[in-house]
């Protein structure tokens, strides 16, 4: 157990000569990795993406590329996948069709006391047929063209290990470039290079992902050479990093859109009031004020370039006069008083919203809640009107369905607070999923957005970028990806 003894003093290249041995990444948002490293459980996990391979990957232009897959074919409702040969799991088991089947079935039918965030993504899948050792057929309820996109995010786990019960959750065993060396909950995950990796040889002998909750400490780690990458930075820290000769800043577009929604009570039950709020908000100034250039104002639930993107909420919608008119039409008396629930992270945004809405005569009272409380019906199911700001839904696939389904379908998470999902939208969402190509999908997406814009149930506010502080010892081309891809990082 040499590694664990050493982990106290991870040294990056600056102090050790002869090639970079260890890459240390300090991060915050990956905390969830540090509470559990279950490969089938949570959404974005850095170590998981390094230990496991998925069937497909996206290239830097967002195009689908096969990874474990040799070739694939869509025949109606069936996606036929042929796997690459000779790939082995880190424990020596071969990668085969059984593993794909077992993995997907595990996701579709998780133990009752476990949940998998992927279940809803793969809900369309009806059946999985193993054709031969390396070929598997995935049968969906109806034609599903997005499925391969979704599969980019699914780690393929060894069927034999899955059969053994819960062991797979902590004893990571993937086909990826790195293997788990050590895991200290709440502290760090240590990965070491997989010597038998089938693809491009991993750059680093060891990768350490450290959970460092405090931003200034992440930066200190970076500046003192104890970390090569400090993730999850705020724009205010950028000066500190760029002013240091040994580090620079790398940004990548974020995959979450911060939005605001309501509890649909009192005046907020009125569509016009909600529309007025939408028109009263100046997203452009808000974004610039709070994030500077490190965020983009949202013009859709997904980022520009993601599949399903439509510019349905142009920034030019900002119109105070119109907002006032709508309010007048709605017949609300001038100072309208509304609470705004917000988590600590979006407090700044909330304060800007507060001042912007004041111009149209809406008095906003900010109420800071713990992140988990925000969507608690207990907080929102109150008779008084409440707005809330939420940091956004994960969308690593960069596809609008990821947003539409939980927001507007009959499973909508704002439904408990009074939102009435329309059947039409629900149907359109199904259509979207079945749409055979991007153009068609975009069309459906536009329809969805038009209807929901009318409903004004959600205001898409802005999309903060990911900011990384990076040591000059390494080179990292983000390539438009929204998360860290270890293979993009090179030592200099």
């Amino acid at each position: 157990n040499q590694t664990s003894a050493q982990t106290g003093q991870h040294q990056t290249k600056s102090t050790s000569q002869g090639g970079q041995q260890t890459l240390v990444i300090d991060d915050l948002s990956e905390t969830r990795d540090l509470t559990t490293i279950d490969p089938l459980n949570k959404d974005i996990t850095l170590p998981r993406s390094m230990v496991y391979d998925s069937l497909f990957v996206k290239d830097k232009d967002g195009k689908l590329e096969p990874s474990l897959v040799q070739s694939y074919q869509t025949k109606g409702n069936t996606l036929e996948i042929k796997l690459k040969h000779g790939i082995k799991f880190q424990n020596g088991d071969p990668l085969n069709a059984q593993s794909v089947k077992a993995t997907i079935e595990k996701i579709l039918h998780p133990d009752p006391n476990e949940e998998s965030a992927f279940t809803s993504l793969l809900a369309n899948i009806k059946q999985i047929n193993v054709v031969n050792q390396w070929t598997v057929d995935i049968v969906t309820a109806h034609a599903d063209y997005i499925l391969p996109q979704y599969l980019t995010n699914i780690s393929i786990v060894d069927a034999k290990q899955l059969a053994k019960g819960n062991q797979y959750q902590t004893d990571l065993n993937g086909t990826g470039p790195y293997m788990l060396a050590d895991w200290k909950r709440g502290q760090e995950v240590v990965l070491k290079a997989n010597p038998h990796y089938w693809g491009k040889k991993p750059q680093f002998k060891k990768v350490v992902i450290k959970y460092v909750p405090d931003e200034s400490t992440r930066i200190a780690d970076l500046l003192s050479g104890h970390a090569s990458i400090a993730a999850d930075l705020t724009p205010e820290s950028i000066d500190r990093i760029t002013s240091n000769a040994n580090s620079h800043v790398v940004t990548s577009p974020g995959d979450r859109v911060t939005y605001m929604s309501y509890n649909f009570n009192g005046p907020l039950a009125n569509e016009k009031v909600r529309q007025a709020i939408y028109y009263a908000l100046d997203r452009k100034t808000m974004t610039a004020d709070v994030y500077g250039k490190y965020a983009t104002p949202a013009t859709a639930p997904v980022a520009k370039g993601a599949s399903g993107y439509v510019d349905a909420f142009p920034l030019s919608d900002y119109n105070v006069a119109k907002a006032k008119k709508l309010l007048a039409e709605a017949g609300v008396k001038a100072p309208l008083s509304i609470s705004l629930h917000v988590g600590q992270t979006d407090l700044d945004v909330a304060e800007v919203i507060q001042s912007q809405l004041k111009q149209v005569g809406i008095q906003v009272h900010i109420d800071v809640l713990a992140q988990g409380e925000l969507l608690d019906p207990k907080q929102l199911n109150k008779p008084e009107p409440i707005m809330f700001i939420f940091t956004g839904l994960d969308n690593p696939e960069e596809d609008a369905y990821r947003i539409y389904a939980p927001t507007f379908s009959s499973e909508s998470f704002i439904k408990p607070f009074g939102y009435k999902p329309s059947a039409q939208v629900a149907q359109l969402i199904q259509q979207y999923l079945a749409a055979p190509n991007l153009t068609e999908r975009t069309q459906v997406s536009k329809q969805i957005l038009d209807i929901t814009k009318q409903q004004a149930a959600v205001v898409w506010l802005l999309q903060p970028a990911n900011i990384y502080g990076v040591s000059n010892d390494i080179e990292w081309h983000v390539d438009g990806a929204t998360q860290i891809h270890i293979q993009q990082i090179q030592e200099k």
């Binding site: 509470t35 006391n113 476990e114 909950r185 200034s216 400490t217 608690d376």
Partner: protein, 313 residues
């Protein structure tokens, strides 16, 4: 003496009873906080998933049954299974607790020692210097926790590169957090100790000691410090309880694994079993210290040891 021991034991039992009460309080408080489903499951979890989760943690059972199960867990010391991590609390807590104990166990004695030194500094000096010194201590005490920590990291971690800015392994990464915590403790106990020392300074036996020509060191330790020890011990026992949970800032900034930050995290996820573990264990440690204090006090002050004498209150 024996009377004192009996009393202390009684107090300990009282304390244990109180822990149970606190646990109960915690239960109701967490009920009042609301459904943990929303804080633990992802936003877009389906209703079915939420329902499964609720039934798993027993949220749908009648409250009294939940309380019963919970109290049974408490009394047997099992604490149940964390909602979020799906692991028995008893397995989760130890590494965190060990981290905090290391931190506090080193920082507290150091801090008290430092406090004693600070208490003595300038003690015999002129009135003016004494007040200035006290003022300086208070200024330092007023500093918000993060300021000295961030500065220390900047200086020793980034500029001088002597010590790693973060991490909870190895002796090196302990140095800064321990020293900073100890410093804060030292200032606090120093301020308190000074008032007491000033009181002792006026006692007649100090004059006797000086008349004997006792060496200054001995005079300070045996004659000035010794009578304040009961205050020091009593303060120490209080600080044990406080520090075990108040290391949050230090733990957070140094990315140090400890109960404090775990507890704060747990609080936001409303993970009752884990939260209870986080509070219960330090509380238990505190109780033990309090128990020891009760035992030690009469040993420190023989005047409290009189069994035969009429207890005058």
């Amino acid at each position: 003496m024996t009377q004192g021991i009996i009393q202390a034991v009684q107090r300990l039992f009282g304390g244990l009873m109180m822990l149970l009460m606190v646990s109960m309080l915690l239960f109701f408080a967490s009920r009042a906080m609301g459904d943990p489903t929303y804080s633990i499951l992802a936003v877009d979890a389906t209703q079915a998933q939420k329902a499964a989760f609720r039934s798993e943690i027993g949220w749908n059972e009648p409250v009294w049954l939940q309380l019963l199960v919970y109290m049974e867990h408490t009394i047997t010391g099992r604490f149940g299974v964390s909602y979020e991590l799906q692991q028995p609390v008893r397995q989760i807590i130890p590494p965190y607790l060990w981290g905090t104990i290391k931190l506090v166990g080193l920082a507290l004695p150091l801090g008290i020692l430092g406090g004693i030194v600070l208490g003595f500094l300038s003690l015999g000096a002129s009135k003016k210097i004494e007040r200035i010194f006290q003022g300086v201590l208070l200024c330092l005490y007023s500093l918000p926790g993060f300021v000295p920590i961030i500065l220390a990291i900047e200086i020793f971690g980034v500029k001088l590169k002597w010590l790693p800015p973060s991490g909870s392994q190895g002796v090196q990464s302990l140095i800064m957090p321990v020293l900073l915590l100890a410093g804060a403790e030292a200032i606090k106990s120093g301020i308190l100790l000074r008032t007491k020392l000033q009181e002792v300074l006026g006692e007649k036996f100090i004059v006797t000691a000086r008349a004997k020509g006792v060496s200054p060191l001995r005079l300070q330790v045996q004659y000035l410090l010794r009578p304040t020890l009961s205050l020091v011990v009593s303060f120490l026992s209080l600080q044990v309880g406080q520090l075990l949970g108040s290391t949050v800032i230090v733990e957070n900034i140094f990315a140090y694994q400890g109960v404090g930050s775990l507890a704060v995290h747990t609080l936001s996820t409303r993970d009752l079993p884990l939260l209870q573990g986080c509070i219960f264990v330090p509380a238990l440690i505190f109780l033990c210290f309090r128990f020891l204090t009760d035992l030690v006090q009469p040993w420190l002050d023989p005047r409290l040891r009189q069994d035969g004498q009429r207890v005058m209150a």
